[in-house]
Protein backbone atom coordinates (compact mmCIF):
# COMPACT_ATOMS: atom_id res chain seq x y z
CA UNK A 1 0.00 0.00 0.00
CA UNK A 2 1.80 3.07 -1.23
CA UNK A 3 -0.69 5.32 0.56
CA UNK A 4 0.71 4.13 3.86
CA UNK A 5 4.26 4.91 2.80
CA UNK A 6 3.31 8.43 1.81
CA UNK A 7 1.41 9.07 5.01
CA UNK A 8 4.16 7.62 7.21
CA UNK A 9 6.87 9.55 5.37
CA UNK A 10 5.12 12.89 5.72
CA UNK A 11 4.11 12.26 9.29
CA UNK A 12 7.56 11.23 10.55
CA UNK A 13 9.96 13.18 8.39
CA UNK A 14 8.25 16.31 7.19
CA UNK A 15 5.95 17.10 10.06
CA UNK A 16 8.12 15.29 12.63
CA UNK A 17 5.27 14.03 14.68
CA UNK A 18 4.70 10.52 15.98
CA UNK A 19 2.15 8.24 14.37
CA UNK A 20 -1.05 8.14 16.35
CA UNK A 21 -2.52 4.74 17.03
CA UNK A 22 -0.29 2.28 15.26
CA UNK A 23 -2.49 -0.73 16.03
CA UNK A 24 -5.56 0.91 14.56
CA UNK A 25 -3.57 1.88 11.47
CA UNK A 26 -2.35 -1.65 10.89
CA UNK A 27 -5.74 -3.28 11.39
CA UNK A 28 -7.24 -0.71 9.02
CA UNK A 29 -4.68 -1.58 6.35
CA UNK A 30 -5.47 -5.26 6.81
CA UNK A 31 -9.17 -4.54 6.29
CA UNK A 32 -8.44 -2.51 3.15
CA UNK A 33 -6.40 -5.30 1.59
CA UNK A 34 -8.97 -7.95 2.50
CA UNK A 35 -11.82 -5.78 1.20
CA UNK A 36 -10.11 -5.09 -2.12
CA UNK A 37 -9.40 -8.78 -2.69
CA UNK A 38 -13.04 -9.66 -2.10
CA UNK A 39 -14.19 -6.76 -4.26
CA UNK A 40 -12.08 -7.84 -7.25
CA UNK A 41 -13.27 -11.42 -6.85
CA UNK A 42 -16.90 -10.28 -6.77
CA UNK A 43 -16.32 -8.04 -9.77
CA UNK A 44 -15.33 -10.96 -11.95
CA UNK A 45 -18.12 -13.17 -10.63
CA UNK A 46 -20.99 -10.72 -10.35
CA UNK A 47 -20.79 -7.23 -11.80
CA UNK A 48 -18.95 -7.91 -15.08
CA UNK A 49 -21.08 -10.93 -16.14
CA UNK A 50 -24.34 -9.16 -15.23
CA UNK A 51 -23.49 -6.05 -17.24
CA UNK A 52 -22.41 -8.08 -20.24
CA UNK A 53 -25.23 -10.59 -20.20
CA UNK A 54 -27.80 -7.80 -19.96
CA UNK A 55 -26.14 -5.99 -22.85
CA UNK A 56 -26.13 -9.16 -24.95
CA UNK A 57 -29.74 -9.97 -24.10
CA UNK A 58 -30.96 -6.46 -24.90
CA UNK A 59 -29.00 -6.39 -28.14
CA UNK A 60 -30.47 -9.78 -29.15
CA UNK A 61 -33.95 -8.57 -28.33
CA UNK A 62 -33.37 -5.99 -31.03
CA UNK A 63 -35.37 -3.26 -29.36
CA UNK A 64 -33.44 -0.01 -29.34
CA UNK A 65 -36.09 1.59 -27.16
CA UNK A 66 -35.61 -0.82 -24.25
CA UNK A 67 -31.87 -0.56 -24.58
CA UNK A 68 -32.11 3.22 -24.25
CA UNK A 69 -34.54 2.99 -21.33
CA UNK A 70 -32.09 0.65 -19.63
CA UNK A 71 -29.16 2.98 -20.35
CA UNK A 72 -30.96 5.99 -18.96
CA UNK A 73 -32.22 4.28 -15.83
CA UNK A 74 -28.81 2.77 -15.14
CA UNK A 75 -27.25 6.23 -15.25
CA UNK A 76 -30.02 7.97 -13.36
CA UNK A 77 -30.61 5.25 -10.77
CA UNK A 78 -26.99 4.75 -9.80
CA UNK A 79 -26.25 8.44 -9.55
CA UNK A 80 -29.23 9.74 -7.62
CA UNK A 81 -28.31 7.71 -4.50
CA UNK A 82 -24.56 8.30 -4.80
CA UNK A 83 -23.21 9.41 -1.39
CA UNK A 84 -20.43 11.56 -2.87
CA UNK A 85 -23.02 13.46 -4.89
CA UNK A 86 -25.25 14.01 -1.85
CA UNK A 87 -22.27 15.49 0.00
CA UNK A 88 -21.34 17.79 -2.89
CA UNK A 89 -24.94 18.94 -3.33
CA UNK A 90 -25.16 19.91 0.33
CA UNK A 91 -21.94 21.88 0.16
CA UNK A 92 -23.13 23.57 -2.99
CA UNK A 93 -26.37 24.64 -1.35
CA UNK A 94 -24.37 26.29 1.44
CA UNK A 95 -22.29 28.09 -1.16
CA UNK A 96 -25.42 29.31 -2.91
CA UNK A 97 -26.94 30.50 0.35
CA UNK A 98 -23.68 32.26 1.21
CA UNK A 99 -23.65 34.01 -2.12
CA UNK A 100 -27.21 35.20 -1.55
CA UNK A 101 -28.58 33.34 -4.54
CA UNK A 102 -31.20 31.54 -2.48
CA UNK A 103 -32.71 32.20 0.93
CA UNK A 104 -30.39 30.92 3.65
CA UNK A 105 -33.00 28.88 5.50
CA UNK A 106 -33.14 25.12 5.78
CA UNK A 107 -36.00 24.53 3.35
CA UNK A 108 -34.54 26.62 0.53
CA UNK A 109 -31.16 24.93 0.89
CA UNK A 110 -32.67 21.47 0.86
CA UNK A 111 -34.71 22.26 -2.22
CA UNK A 112 -31.58 23.56 -3.92
CA UNK A 113 -29.54 20.45 -2.99
CA UNK A 114 -32.30 18.12 -4.21
CA UNK A 115 -32.65 20.05 -7.45
CA UNK A 116 -28.92 19.81 -8.01
CA UNK A 117 -28.91 16.07 -7.32
CA UNK A 118 -31.74 15.43 -9.75
CA UNK A 119 -30.03 17.59 -12.35
CA UNK A 120 -26.81 15.63 -12.08
CA UNK A 121 -28.60 12.25 -12.07
CA UNK A 122 -30.62 13.26 -15.12
CA UNK A 123 -27.48 14.40 -16.94
CA UNK A 124 -25.70 11.11 -16.18
CA UNK A 125 -28.72 9.15 -17.45
CA UNK A 126 -28.68 11.24 -20.60
CA UNK A 127 -24.93 10.70 -20.96
CA UNK A 128 -25.20 6.90 -20.83
CA UNK A 129 -28.12 7.06 -23.25
CA UNK A 130 -26.16 9.16 -25.76
CA UNK A 131 -23.13 6.94 -25.23
CA UNK A 132 -25.17 3.82 -26.02
CA UNK A 133 -26.53 5.44 -29.20
CA UNK A 134 -22.93 6.16 -30.14
CA UNK A 135 -21.97 2.50 -29.68
CA UNK A 136 -24.95 1.33 -31.73
CA UNK A 137 -24.24 3.77 -34.55
CA UNK A 138 -20.45 3.48 -34.29
CA UNK A 139 -19.78 7.24 -34.24
CA UNK A 140 -16.22 8.28 -33.41
CA UNK A 141 -16.01 9.41 -29.81
CA UNK A 142 -13.64 12.35 -30.08
CA UNK A 143 -15.93 14.60 -32.08
CA UNK A 144 -18.67 14.18 -29.50
CA UNK A 145 -16.35 14.78 -26.56
CA UNK A 146 -14.91 17.86 -28.25
CA UNK A 147 -18.42 19.12 -28.87
CA UNK A 148 -19.00 18.64 -25.16
CA UNK A 149 -15.86 20.62 -24.33
CA UNK A 150 -16.92 23.46 -26.58
CA UNK A 151 -20.27 23.57 -24.79
CA UNK A 152 -18.52 23.55 -21.40
CA UNK A 153 -16.30 26.45 -22.43
CA UNK A 154 -19.18 28.50 -23.82
CA UNK A 155 -21.37 27.97 -20.78
CA UNK A 156 -18.47 28.68 -18.41
CA UNK A 157 -18.18 32.17 -19.84
CA UNK A 158 -21.78 33.00 -18.91
CA UNK A 159 -22.33 30.93 -15.74
CA UNK A 160 -22.20 32.54 -12.28
CA UNK A 161 -18.72 32.32 -10.80
CA UNK A 162 -19.68 30.49 -7.57
CA UNK A 163 -21.08 27.51 -9.42
CA UNK A 164 -18.11 26.86 -11.73
CA UNK A 165 -15.83 25.03 -9.28
CA UNK A 166 -18.69 22.85 -8.06
CA UNK A 167 -19.83 22.13 -11.62
CA UNK A 168 -16.35 21.00 -12.68
CA UNK A 169 -16.05 18.83 -9.58
CA UNK A 170 -19.44 17.22 -10.07
CA UNK A 171 -18.19 15.72 -13.32
CA UNK A 172 -15.73 13.65 -11.32
CA UNK A 173 -17.81 12.54 -8.36
CA UNK A 174 -20.76 11.04 -10.19
CA UNK A 175 -19.25 7.73 -11.14
CA UNK A 176 -19.15 5.39 -8.17
CA UNK A 177 -17.27 2.20 -7.55
CA UNK A 178 -20.27 0.06 -8.44
CA UNK A 179 -21.44 2.10 -11.43
CA UNK A 180 -18.08 2.06 -13.19
CA UNK A 181 -17.69 -1.73 -13.57
CA UNK A 182 -21.37 -2.11 -14.57
CA UNK A 183 -21.25 0.66 -17.16
CA UNK A 184 -17.92 -0.56 -18.53
CA UNK A 185 -19.28 -4.11 -18.87
CA UNK A 186 -22.42 -2.74 -20.54
CA UNK A 187 -20.38 -0.86 -23.14
CA UNK A 188 -17.98 -3.70 -23.85
CA UNK A 189 -20.79 -6.27 -23.96
CA UNK A 190 -22.81 -4.12 -26.33
CA UNK A 191 -19.88 -3.41 -28.63
CA UNK A 192 -18.98 -7.10 -28.81
CA UNK A 193 -22.54 -8.23 -29.61
CA UNK A 194 -23.13 -5.75 -32.44
CA UNK A 195 -21.45 -6.75 -35.66
CA UNK A 196 -18.77 -4.42 -36.95
CA UNK A 197 -18.04 -2.84 -33.57
CA UNK A 198 -14.67 -3.16 -31.92
CA UNK A 199 -15.01 -3.54 -28.13
CA UNK A 200 -11.80 -1.60 -27.60
CA UNK A 201 -12.76 1.39 -29.77
CA UNK A 202 -16.51 1.41 -29.25
CA UNK A 203 -16.93 -0.32 -25.90
CA UNK A 204 -15.17 2.25 -23.75
CA UNK A 205 -16.17 5.88 -23.50
CA UNK A 206 -19.48 5.71 -21.63
CA UNK A 207 -17.89 7.04 -18.46
CA UNK A 208 -16.32 9.88 -20.41
CA UNK A 209 -19.79 11.07 -21.39
CA UNK A 210 -20.96 10.68 -17.81
CA UNK A 211 -18.19 13.00 -16.64
CA UNK A 212 -18.91 15.83 -19.08
CA UNK A 213 -22.69 16.21 -19.08
CA UNK A 214 -22.91 16.95 -15.33
CA UNK A 215 -20.55 19.91 -15.81
CA UNK A 216 -22.83 21.36 -18.46
CA UNK A 217 -26.07 20.70 -16.63
CA UNK A 218 -24.88 21.92 -13.23
CA UNK A 219 -23.81 25.23 -14.78
CA UNK A 220 -27.16 25.50 -16.55
CA UNK A 221 -28.81 24.75 -13.22
CA UNK A 222 -26.73 27.48 -11.61
CA UNK A 223 -27.76 29.96 -14.30
CA UNK A 224 -31.41 29.08 -13.86
CA UNK A 225 -31.36 29.49 -10.08
CA UNK A 226 -28.92 32.35 -9.50
Amino acid sequence: MPVILVVVFFQLIVLQQPLPNLVQLLSGVLLVVLGLTLFIQGLEMGLFPVGESLAHALARKGSLLWLLVFAFSLGFGTTVAEPALIAVAEEASEVAAGAGAIASDQAAQEAYADGLRLTVAFSVGLAILVGVIRIVKGWPIHWMIMGGYVLVVIITSVAPREIIGIAYDSGGVTTSTITVPLVTALGVGLASSIRGRNPMIDGFGLIAFASITPIIFVMLFGMAVH
Binding site: F10, G42, A57, G98, V153, D169, I178
Partner: protein, 260 residues
Protein backbone atom coordinates in the same frame (compact mmCIF):
# COMPACT_ATOMS: atom_id res chain seq x y z
CA UNK B 1 -13.54 -1.05 16.19
CA UNK B 2 -17.17 -1.50 17.15
CA UNK B 3 -19.58 -3.94 15.63
CA UNK B 4 -22.11 -1.18 15.23
CA UNK B 5 -19.65 0.60 12.88
CA UNK B 6 -19.29 -2.55 10.82
CA UNK B 7 -23.03 -2.98 10.60
CA UNK B 8 -23.56 0.67 9.70
CA UNK B 9 -21.02 0.61 6.88
CA UNK B 10 -22.49 -2.62 5.58
CA UNK B 11 -25.99 -1.11 5.58
CA UNK B 12 -24.76 2.06 3.85
CA UNK B 13 -23.09 0.05 1.11
CA UNK B 14 -26.16 -2.16 0.77
CA UNK B 15 -28.22 1.01 0.36
CA UNK B 16 -25.97 2.06 -2.53
CA UNK B 17 -26.20 -1.33 -4.20
CA UNK B 18 -29.92 -1.93 -3.69
CA UNK B 19 -31.33 0.44 -6.36
CA UNK B 20 -28.96 -1.09 -8.89
CA UNK B 21 -29.94 -4.64 -7.97
CA UNK B 22 -33.65 -3.77 -8.19
CA UNK B 23 -33.19 -2.18 -11.61
CA UNK B 24 -31.20 -5.11 -12.97
CA UNK B 25 -33.80 -7.54 -11.63
CA UNK B 26 -36.64 -5.59 -13.27
CA UNK B 27 -34.91 -5.62 -16.63
CA UNK B 28 -33.88 -9.25 -16.36
CA UNK B 29 -37.24 -10.68 -15.37
CA UNK B 30 -39.80 -8.24 -16.75
CA UNK B 31 -38.29 -7.19 -20.05
CA UNK B 32 -35.92 -9.95 -21.05
CA UNK B 33 -38.01 -12.64 -19.32
CA UNK B 34 -35.28 -15.18 -19.17
CA UNK B 35 -33.41 -16.49 -16.14
CA UNK B 36 -29.95 -15.10 -15.74
CA UNK B 37 -27.13 -17.48 -16.63
CA UNK B 38 -25.13 -18.63 -13.60
CA UNK B 39 -27.55 -17.04 -11.17
CA UNK B 40 -25.91 -18.51 -8.07
CA UNK B 41 -22.44 -17.39 -9.05
CA UNK B 42 -23.66 -13.88 -9.79
CA UNK B 43 -25.38 -13.58 -6.44
CA UNK B 44 -22.26 -14.77 -4.65
CA UNK B 45 -20.31 -12.24 -6.70
CA UNK B 46 -22.61 -9.43 -5.55
CA UNK B 47 -22.24 -10.50 -1.94
CA UNK B 48 -18.46 -10.41 -2.37
CA UNK B 49 -18.62 -6.92 -3.86
CA UNK B 50 -20.81 -5.74 -1.02
CA UNK B 51 -18.62 -7.26 1.70
CA UNK B 52 -15.39 -6.25 0.02
CA UNK B 53 -16.43 -2.65 -0.44
CA UNK B 54 -17.67 -2.36 3.15
CA UNK B 55 -14.45 -3.79 4.60
CA UNK B 56 -12.46 -1.53 2.32
CA UNK B 57 -14.32 1.60 3.43
CA UNK B 58 -14.13 0.55 7.05
CA UNK B 59 -10.38 0.09 6.79
CA UNK B 60 -9.97 3.46 5.11
CA UNK B 61 -12.12 5.16 7.71
CA UNK B 62 -10.04 3.62 10.45
CA UNK B 63 -6.54 3.99 9.09
CA UNK B 64 -6.24 6.50 6.33
CA UNK B 65 -8.92 9.14 6.27
CA UNK B 66 -8.30 10.57 9.74
CA UNK B 67 -4.57 10.67 9.12
CA UNK B 68 -4.95 12.04 5.60
CA UNK B 69 -7.23 14.82 6.76
CA UNK B 70 -5.05 15.58 9.75
CA UNK B 71 -1.99 15.84 7.55
CA UNK B 72 -3.71 17.97 4.97
CA UNK B 73 -4.58 20.43 7.71
CA UNK B 74 -1.15 20.24 9.36
CA UNK B 75 0.66 20.83 6.09
CA UNK B 76 -1.50 23.80 5.25
CA UNK B 77 -1.18 25.18 8.76
CA UNK B 78 0.47 28.62 8.65
CA UNK B 79 2.70 27.72 11.60
CA UNK B 80 4.25 24.93 9.53
CA UNK B 81 4.47 26.73 6.23
CA UNK B 82 5.95 29.92 7.61
CA UNK B 83 8.25 28.27 10.13
CA UNK B 84 11.39 28.82 8.11
CA UNK B 85 10.60 32.41 7.24
CA UNK B 86 11.47 35.33 9.44
CA UNK B 87 9.42 38.13 8.05
CA UNK B 88 5.97 36.83 7.40
CA UNK B 89 4.47 39.83 5.70
CA UNK B 90 6.27 39.82 2.38
CA UNK B 91 7.22 36.17 2.30
CA UNK B 92 3.99 34.73 0.92
CA UNK B 93 5.51 33.52 -2.28
CA UNK B 94 3.80 30.61 -3.96
CA UNK B 95 7.03 28.59 -3.87
CA UNK B 96 6.93 28.55 -0.07
CA UNK B 97 4.24 25.96 -0.26
CA UNK B 98 6.54 23.37 -1.82
CA UNK B 99 5.74 20.70 0.77
CA UNK B 100 2.10 21.05 -0.10
CA UNK B 101 2.81 20.38 -3.78
CA UNK B 102 4.95 17.37 -2.97
CA UNK B 103 2.29 16.05 -0.63
CA UNK B 104 -0.39 16.66 -3.26
CA UNK B 105 1.64 14.75 -5.82
CA UNK B 106 2.36 11.82 -3.52
CA UNK B 107 -1.15 11.52 -2.14
CA UNK B 108 -2.71 11.85 -5.60
CA UNK B 109 -0.51 9.08 -6.95
CA UNK B 110 -0.95 6.66 -4.07
CA UNK B 111 -4.71 7.07 -3.59
CA UNK B 112 -5.30 6.55 -7.31
CA UNK B 113 -3.28 3.33 -7.33
CA UNK B 114 -5.61 2.09 -4.58
CA UNK B 115 -8.84 3.17 -6.33
CA UNK B 116 -11.15 0.16 -6.85
CA UNK B 117 -13.04 1.53 -9.88
CA UNK B 118 -9.77 2.15 -11.69
CA UNK B 119 -8.81 -1.46 -11.01
CA UNK B 120 -12.11 -2.58 -12.56
CA UNK B 121 -11.53 -0.58 -15.74
CA UNK B 122 -7.89 -1.64 -15.96
CA UNK B 123 -8.82 -5.33 -15.64
CA UNK B 124 -11.49 -4.96 -18.32
CA UNK B 125 -9.18 -3.05 -20.65
CA UNK B 126 -6.45 -5.65 -20.41
CA UNK B 127 -9.01 -8.43 -21.06
CA UNK B 128 -10.51 -6.67 -24.07
CA UNK B 129 -7.18 -5.71 -25.58
CA UNK B 130 -5.91 -9.27 -25.17
CA UNK B 131 -3.15 -8.17 -22.82
CA UNK B 132 -1.80 -5.42 -25.09
CA UNK B 133 -2.68 -2.89 -22.41
CA UNK B 134 -1.19 -3.87 -19.10
CA UNK B 135 -3.45 -3.29 -16.13
CA UNK B 136 -0.49 -2.00 -14.13
CA UNK B 137 0.82 0.25 -16.86
CA UNK B 138 -2.57 1.85 -17.21
CA UNK B 139 -2.96 2.31 -13.46
CA UNK B 140 0.45 3.93 -13.12
CA UNK B 141 -0.22 6.22 -16.09
CA UNK B 142 -3.53 7.32 -14.59
CA UNK B 143 -2.01 7.77 -11.13
CA UNK B 144 0.77 9.97 -12.54
CA UNK B 145 -1.87 12.06 -14.27
CA UNK B 146 -3.84 12.51 -11.07
CA UNK B 147 -0.68 13.36 -9.15
CA UNK B 148 0.33 16.09 -11.59
CA UNK B 149 -3.25 17.33 -11.74
CA UNK B 150 -3.61 17.67 -8.00
CA UNK B 151 -0.24 19.39 -7.56
CA UNK B 152 -1.21 21.87 -10.25
CA UNK B 153 -4.61 22.28 -8.61
CA UNK B 154 -2.88 23.03 -5.30
CA UNK B 155 -0.75 25.62 -7.07
CA UNK B 156 -3.91 27.16 -8.50
CA UNK B 157 -5.43 27.50 -5.04
CA UNK B 158 -2.25 29.09 -3.69
CA UNK B 159 -1.90 31.48 -6.62
CA UNK B 160 -5.63 32.18 -6.85
CA UNK B 161 -5.79 32.00 -10.64
CA UNK B 162 -9.26 31.29 -12.03
CA UNK B 163 -9.92 27.62 -12.57
CA UNK B 164 -11.40 27.80 -16.06
CA UNK B 165 -8.15 29.04 -17.64
CA UNK B 166 -6.45 25.84 -16.54
CA UNK B 167 -9.34 23.64 -17.57
CA UNK B 168 -9.67 25.23 -20.99
CA UNK B 169 -5.94 24.94 -21.70
CA UNK B 170 -6.21 21.33 -20.51
CA UNK B 171 -9.03 20.70 -22.98
CA UNK B 172 -6.97 22.15 -25.82
CA UNK B 173 -4.07 19.83 -24.97
CA UNK B 174 -6.43 16.85 -24.81
CA UNK B 175 -7.90 17.72 -28.21
CA UNK B 176 -4.45 18.11 -29.78
CA UNK B 177 -3.28 14.82 -28.31
CA UNK B 178 -6.40 13.10 -29.61
CA UNK B 179 -5.24 13.69 -33.17
CA UNK B 180 -1.85 12.08 -32.59
CA UNK B 181 -2.61 9.29 -30.12
CA UNK B 182 -3.28 5.73 -31.35
CA UNK B 183 -6.98 5.38 -32.09
CA UNK B 184 -7.51 2.37 -29.85
CA UNK B 185 -6.57 4.18 -26.69
CA UNK B 186 -8.75 7.27 -27.10
CA UNK B 187 -12.03 6.04 -25.58
CA UNK B 188 -10.16 4.39 -22.74
CA UNK B 189 -8.19 7.57 -22.07
CA UNK B 190 -11.40 9.61 -21.95
CA UNK B 191 -12.89 7.10 -19.55
CA UNK B 192 -9.95 7.15 -17.22
CA UNK B 193 -10.64 10.79 -16.49
CA UNK B 194 -13.90 9.88 -14.83
CA UNK B 195 -12.96 6.75 -12.93
CA UNK B 196 -10.01 8.10 -11.03
CA UNK B 197 -11.92 10.07 -8.52
CA UNK B 198 -14.12 8.02 -6.28
CA UNK B 199 -14.03 6.30 -2.93
CA UNK B 200 -10.43 6.85 -1.92
CA UNK B 201 -9.33 10.01 -3.66
CA UNK B 202 -12.25 12.35 -3.17
CA UNK B 203 -12.33 12.62 0.65
CA UNK B 204 -8.59 13.16 1.07
CA UNK B 205 -8.27 15.52 -1.87
CA UNK B 206 -11.30 17.57 -0.88
CA UNK B 207 -9.83 17.98 2.60
CA UNK B 208 -6.57 19.20 1.10
CA UNK B 209 -8.35 21.73 -1.12
CA UNK B 210 -10.56 23.15 1.61
CA UNK B 211 -7.67 23.27 4.11
CA UNK B 212 -5.46 25.08 1.64
CA UNK B 213 -8.13 27.59 0.70
CA UNK B 214 -8.69 28.33 4.38
CA UNK B 215 -5.01 28.93 5.14
CA UNK B 216 -3.78 30.89 2.16
CA UNK B 217 -4.60 34.55 2.72
CA UNK B 218 -7.10 36.06 0.33
CA UNK B 219 -8.68 32.80 -0.81
CA UNK B 220 -12.34 32.06 -0.41
CA UNK B 221 -13.15 28.52 0.68
CA UNK B 222 -16.27 28.62 -1.44
CA UNK B 223 -14.68 29.74 -4.69
CA UNK B 224 -11.16 28.35 -4.42
CA UNK B 225 -11.68 25.28 -2.26
CA UNK B 226 -13.39 23.30 -4.97
CA UNK B 227 -11.90 22.28 -8.25
CA UNK B 228 -9.09 19.89 -7.26
CA UNK B 229 -11.24 16.98 -8.38
CA UNK B 230 -11.72 18.59 -11.78
CA UNK B 231 -7.93 18.72 -12.18
CA UNK B 232 -7.71 15.10 -11.10
CA UNK B 233 -10.16 14.07 -13.81
CA UNK B 234 -8.54 16.08 -16.61
CA UNK B 235 -4.89 15.10 -16.35
CA UNK B 236 -5.26 11.30 -16.53
CA UNK B 237 -6.65 11.71 -20.06
CA UNK B 238 -3.37 13.33 -21.10
CA UNK B 239 -1.16 10.87 -19.25
CA UNK B 240 -2.97 7.81 -20.64
CA UNK B 241 -2.71 9.12 -24.20
CA UNK B 242 0.93 9.96 -23.59
CA UNK B 243 1.49 6.45 -22.22
CA UNK B 244 0.01 4.98 -25.41
CA UNK B 245 2.05 7.32 -27.59
CA UNK B 246 5.27 6.39 -25.81
CA UNK B 247 4.60 2.65 -26.01
CA UNK B 248 3.75 2.97 -29.71
CA UNK B 249 6.87 4.99 -30.36
CA UNK B 250 9.04 2.44 -28.58
CA UNK B 251 7.37 -0.47 -30.38
CA UNK B 252 7.95 1.34 -33.68
CA UNK B 253 11.62 1.86 -32.92
CA UNK B 254 12.07 -1.77 -32.03
CA UNK B 255 10.46 -2.77 -35.30
CA UNK B 256 12.78 -0.61 -37.40
CA UNK B 257 15.73 -1.92 -35.44
CA UNK B 258 14.87 -5.57 -35.98
CA UNK B 259 14.22 -5.00 -39.69
CA UNK B 260 17.73 -3.60 -40.20
Amino acid sequence: MHWSDVLETLLDTAGDVLPIVVMIAVFQFVIIRRPMPNMRRVIIGFVYVLLGLSLFLLGLEQALFPLGRLMASQLTDPAFIYSGIERMADAMHWADYYWVYIFAFAIGFSTTIAEPSLMAVAIKASQVSGGAIHAWGLRIAVALGVAVGISLGAYRIVSGLPIHYFIIVGYVVVVLQTFYAPRLIIPLAYDSGGVTTSTVTVPVVAALGLGLAETVPGRSVLIDGFGLIAFASLFPMMSVMAYAQISEYRAGRQRTKSSD
